[in-house]
């Protein structure tokens, strides 16, 4: 490590931090997302930012990048208190972020993407030669071999990320925040990315590595910062903590009365999935689902759970493998077909995929059974619809006053109840829930989960997908863990949170440094 460009340890201590966050507070409506978080970012350092969903990580990132402003606290940049009021200001101050889905121009080539909006000019006209040359230089410096002439649509997501990073460097970023950069990368691509990150560190860039993948955090970061429920719970050198300690710090909350009690019914098998594969998304998935059970499906973002659910529901098709529904062979051809055989699916993205925002609640609530609401001649019997939606609203505990409203004016929790109601209307045999409590307030969360538990008690088979450890732990009668497209573990509940997390991140409890 005697690279002359390397930032020495003493340099790091003496030099003032680039960014200092002091007591940052931020709330939304009544919810306190961040309650006084302080953090320092220094040159030549990779800091891991950890925390469960809802712990405040993305709010913190948004504040750093100028998308949001804090309600309280200060942002200090190069020793001066600054106001980072919008993304442009953040960029000018040298703070940049890359996200899982980089915003790029697919039809333009790599060099142009690097310089988008700021192409170098010579005497008024664009200097392509200098653009290509600079691009090649930058790539060489950071140890990447990409051809700047290639149009972007030819490149996969790993390369796009590298380009995003290079773009930030070219625009003079000193702080680079990487938001879940590895969730869509293969392990080989992750290795290459880490080489790149290390070389950036050598050049004095300050990196923030936001991730759920604790093994990677352990490998690449110098320091870890753990958030929980909007507060900073720990800040330690990475070498001083073990993975299990990290897990404890992240999820140290008691379960509480949030979760309903589950009836453990051992019904007969309703769905058998064997060796289901869809290249690039999931492979060789096999499991059985029994009536009345809640099968939890845990895993990190990108593990392939949603894709698996979509393949069962008919939104996409698996390439190989078989499914048997109640003893009968089942091929998921379309959502319409899935509904007919009694499968229901609550999608992750409620706003675009779950509801038609422009229609009123009763229409959304009954959308899956419009066929039944029509009479013999196809006439839509509105009175029948209102009656049915009132019944469904009662079942999902949606207050009567909400009934004929515009769906868009409902809160997130109530909207989710409408989606749930729409699926209850089909009297499904199998209910697949994908992140059902995302973006819902606590009270409604409890109600929704209670309804799910009741459903299971009546014999409906439930597949419960969630990235929230506590939730998936508490709501499952049995738990599968997926990682990188494969089912890697199966647990009978109750099971400890850190065991789930370790299985999801792929860290063996034995291999800890």
């Amino acid at each position: 490590m005697s690279d002359p460009r390397a930032v020495s340890e003493s340099d790091k201590l003496v030099a003032p931090p680039i960014v200092e966050l002091r007591g940052i507070k931020r709330s939304f409506g009544g919810l306190q997302a961040l309650s006084g978080v302080s953090m320092t970012l220094r040159r030549g350092e990779i800091v891991g930012l950890l925390g469960e969903n809802g712990a405040g990580k993305s709010t913190l990132v948004k504040i750093l990048t100028g998308v949001l402003e804090p309600d309280g606290g200060q942002i200090v940049i190069d020793g001066e208190i600054r106001r980072v009021s919008n993304p442009r200001v953040a960029r000018e101050l040298g703070i940049a972020a890359t996200y899982q889905e980089p915003a790029v121009f697919p039809d333009l080539d790599v060099a142009e993407n690097l310089f988008a909006g700021r192409q170098p000019t010579r005497r008024g006209i664009i200097d392509w030669g200098s653009m290509y040359k600079t691009a090649e230089e930058v790539f060489r410096e950071i140890g990447v071999d990409l051809d700047p002439h290639v149009p972007l649509y030819q490149l996969g997501i790993a390369d796009r990320q590298i380009i995003e990073i290079a773009k930030s460097l070219i625009s003079g970023a000193r702080v680079l925040i990487l938001d879940e950069p590895t969730s869509v990368l293969s392990s080989r691509e992750v290795d290459s990315l880490f080489i790149l990150l290390n070389s950036l560190r050598e050049r004095g860039i300050s990196l923030v590595f936001v991730s759920h993948k604790l093994d990677e955090v352990k490998a690449i970061t110098d320091r870890v910062v753990v958030l929980r429920d909007g507060a900073l719970v720990a800040e330690k050198p990475t070498a001083d903590v073990s993975v299990s300690e990290l897990v404890q710090m992240m999820c140290g909350r008691a379960i509480g009365e949030l979760y309903p009690s589950l009836t453990r019914v051992a019904g007969d098998t309703i769905l058998e999935v064997k060796h289901l594969t869809r290249r690039g998304y999931f492979q060789d998935v096999s499991f059985t689902l029994r009536r009345g059970e809640i099968l939890g499906l845990a895993g990190l973002v990108g593990a392939g759970r949603t894709e698996l659910a979509e393949a069962i529901f008919g939104i996409s098709q698996a390439e190989s493998g078989t499914m048997t529904l109640d003893g009968v062979a089942y091929t998921a051809t379309s959502p319409r077909h899935a509904v007919r055989v009694g499968i229901a699916y609550l999608p992750e993205d409620r706003l675009s995929n779950g509801l038609v925002m422009g229609m009123r609640v009763p229409f959304n609530m009954t959308m899956t059974v419009w066929g039944r609401i029509a009479n013999r001649f196809g006439r839509f019997r509105t009175r029948v619809m209102y009656r049915q939606s009132a019944e469904l609203a009662a079942r999902v505990q949606l207050q009567a006053g909400r009934l004929n409203q515009l769906t868009s004016s409902l809160s997130g929790g109530n909207q989710q109840k409408v989606v749930l109601g729409k699926w209850l209307a089909t009297e499904p045999r199998i209910l697949i829930l994908d992140e059902p409590t995302h973006g819902i307030d606590v009270g409604t969360k409890a109600e929704v989960l209670g309804i799910v538990a009741e459903l299971a008690a009546t014999g409906v088979a439930v597949i419960f997908i969630s990235s929230e450890l506590e939730e998936v732990r508490a709501m499952s009668t049995r738990l599968l863990v997926m990682r990188e497209g494969s089912v890697v573990a199966e647990f009978a509940t109750p099971v400890d949170a850190h065991v789930i997390l370790e299985a999801a991140s792929g860290v063996d409890a034995k291999h800890e440094s």
């Binding site: 990447v144 002439h149 869509v184 690039g280």
Partner: protein
């Protein structure tokens, strides 16, 4: 595996470099090849095709269409569309033809050209106004302006038409002239082609056009001045339509209220067939020219073989549908799904030794 090998693995994507460039050149060469093929066959089998007057006619008409198609191509590149170009051409054909009668002398042509460009640009700005300020989708906005400009065209013509005798000599004779043996129309088309290609490739404006077509949201985020660019794009398209109008007057002599009708479909077909994607972001000015050449030639052959002089619209319409379908299929094959590679890697998630070998710390 050594670090160097790991790095070179990342670079497998750049091995596609030669494949990509070859692909791009391939669509242009394919078009050129097709044009050459048709020309050879036509010259060999149709005696009428070979005549000087036919060739001249064909080239002149094609040049005119190509110029307007280049303007339309710029608009389509930015993921917009302009259905009013035909009407703009028609109005400018009449007005510039009439007004330039007042400017004789050596500067006549210069003023005439500038007038045509400015007038056309003005109408283009009208389109941009609707899209920018009224936030109308371009398809509906230019449908509306098509009718408005067509109405204006009729009013301006006032029931009569512009006669060749009213048109200044330099304009009337433009079609027949030749500089260094090549017709003036072709020269003008070539100049426009070179100029617009330069603009598209070498100016911020041009690159913004591509950015807007490729990903409008990212363009906005990165600070592209969308409103300004929209005005400029439609103004450019209108200006070239105006220039086309000028050439139209020269080509046909008499300009009446139907001048330019149907030109909309023709130029869109030319651009699309030539490789300008209707989704935006892909294509060049040359695409429009090649498309105009190809369609013009096919049209000519169909007329000469008496298959029908009425095949024009069918040809153009079918060409658009086919081009869109082909492009959709091809681009779906080409675009790599933005997904990670299959989990085929046999490497463990991390290889600390390799990272250390590459000069990074493995955390200590």
């Amino acid at each position: 595996m050594s670090a160097a090998e790991m790095i070179s693995d990342v670079a497998t994507s750049s091995a596609r470099r030669s494949r990509v460039n070859a692909m791009v050149r391939r669509s242009d060469t394919a078009l050129l090849g097709l044009i050459a093929l048709i020309t050879l066959v036509a010259v060999a089998t149709l005696s009428d095709f070979r005549t000087l007057s036919n060739i001249n006619n064909l080239l002149n008409t094609t040049a005119l269409i190509a110029i307007v198609a280049i303007g339309e191509a710029v608009v389509i590149l930015a993921r917009q569309i302009d259905l009013s170009v035909g009407a703009i051409l028609g109005i400018c054909a009449y007005l510039v033809g009439e007004w330039s009668g007042h400017f004789s002398g050596p500067f006549g042509p210069v003023i005439g050209v500038l007038l045509a460009l400015a007038l056309g640009a003005g109408f283009g700005l009208g389109n941009a106004l609707l899209v920018n300020v009224f936030k109308m989708p371009a398809i509906i906005a230019t449908l509306a302006t098509l009718s408005i400009y067509t109405g204006l065209q009729i009013i301006v013509n006032n029931g009569s038409q512009l006669y060749l005798t009213q048109v200044p000599k330099w304009l009337a004779g433009l079609r027949g002239n030749a500089w260094f043996g090549i017709g003036t129309f072709i020269w003008i088309a070539a100049i426009v082609l070179v100029a617009v290609s330069f603009i598209l490739r070498r100016t911020r404006f041009g690159r913004d056009v591509y950015a807007l077509g490729s990903n409008p949201e990212a363009a906005a985020y990165l600070g592209v001045k969308i409103r300004l660019r929209t005005f400029q794009i439609f103004a450019l398209c209108g200006a070239l339509a105006g220039l086309g109008g000028l050439l139209y007057t020269s080509q046909f002599g008499n300009v009446d209220a139907t001048a330019g009708n149907g030109m909309n479909l023709t130029v869109i077909a030319a651009a699309v067939v030539g490789g300008v994607s209707l989704f935006g972001g892909a294509g060049t000015a040359l695409s429009a020219v090649l498309g105009a050449l190809l369609l013009g030639e096919i049209q000519n052959v169909l007329e000469l073989t008496r298959i029908s002089i009425f095949a024009e619209q069918t040809l153009q319409g079918a060409a658009i549908v086919i081009a869109v379908a082909v492009y959709a299929v091809v681009s779906r094959r080409l675009r790599r799904p933005v997904r990670r590679e299959a989990f085929l890697s046999e490497h463990p998630t991390l290889n600390p030794a390799a990272i250390e070998a590459a000069g990074g710390t493995s955390n200590g």
